[in-house]
Subunit: 183 residues, 2 copies
DNA sequence: CCCAACATAGACAGACCTGTCTGGTACTGT
DNA sequence: ACAGTACCAGACAGGTCTGTCTATGTTGGG
């Protein structure tokens, strides 16, 4: 039978994800994470080389989850873009939304050479390529340029959802998407 | 005659501005600031109640500087909007650009009730109102909605300038502005 | 000339941080 | 039965953080 609680590593990563996202990476200490994950410190350092490694694992997992989520969405071309941004706008309007994990992490890690920043860069390249391919599929006249605009819109949606009054982001992002795609 | 060096308070605030912006608020300690500002610790705490107060002063000054900078720009209506976003795109493409001080600070201070977050909120309200007034002046059919779109674009320009390869932001922001205004 | 205001250097307290280490427990496969 | 692995609790070292304090120096106004 399965163990009564989840794996220790899973518990640590889930707790770290929750706390890092909600309160920021630098303000949450290892002691807090292992206490809430109910894991011994030695166990933590058995699974993760350092706190930075945990941050990397957190972002990498978010990256993989978002890839899987987008891959599972139906449709293609323009319809899929529409669907993706509808989802982004919805998630950004949810209570508890505190911005994009990648943008928040990039703001906390100023050094562009830091491993954390490389995960962020990787994520952005992936998103832009996905948009470019979908635009090409949709017969857009300039898929590369359009993809850059959609990356901008994705960033803007995350910031707005985190900082603006609730309920505004959804329709504003929708209006922007229409404006950018028809242009 | 003027004192040989600037005021101690000015030296502290300038040093804090440089370090907070370049490396982040949480990663820069008071000891580092007073060392680089060549100021005694007691002098620092004479001028600022706490580190949080210094962060607040840093952001408030940036807010005032940006207000003054925009107010000094010539033109009105659509021309001024064009000018403002040209400036934003240029600044975001400069080497050493590390994103918007307000967005970076908001990412580091998760609590929306924190004084730092209130300065950020104030800044955003000001920017949106300015855009709304300029759009109304330009005879835009929906100044309020258009202003929300321009706030989105401002955020996106800051993020892109900080994270994307240099040189990309300027033309992408220009293209987005044309798309959003003609829509 | 003297005093108040502002500056200096730096010790200090108390808290928190990451990461290591010891020692003991429980389960698993052979 | 036994070895190996994963886990637990918690002490500890060495560093950094904010903020307070002492003690001294400089300077300008009355």
């Amino acid at each position: 039978m399965a163990p009564p609680a989840r794996d220790a590593r899973t518990r640590v990563l889930d707790t770290a994800t929750r706390l890092f996202y909600a309160e920021g990476v630098h303000t949450v200490g290892i002691d807090r994470i292992i206490a809430e994950a109910e894991v011994a410190k030695a166990t933590f350092y058995h699974h993760f080389k350092s706190k930075d490694a945990l941050v990397g694992a957190y972002l990498t997992e978010q990256y993989q989850l978002q890839r899987a989520g987008f891959a599972a969405m139906p449709g293609d071309g323009a319809a899929k873009i529409e669907l993706i941004f509808t989802r982004i706008a919805e998630v950004s309007s949810l209570p508890g939304f505190r911005g994009c994990p990648f943008l928040n992490a990039a703001a906390e890690f100023a050094d562009p050479e830091h491993p954390v920043r490389e995960v962020v860069a990787e994520y952005r390249v992936w998103f832009e390529c996905l948009m470019r391919d979908l635009l090409a599929e949709a017969g857009h006249r300039d898929p590369a340029g359009g993809a850059r605009l959609l990356l901008l819109l994705r960033d803007a949606a995350a910031v707005s959802g985190a900082l603006d009054p609730p309920g505004r982001t959804r329709e504003t992002v929708g209006a922007a998407l229409r404006g950018l795609l028809t242009a």
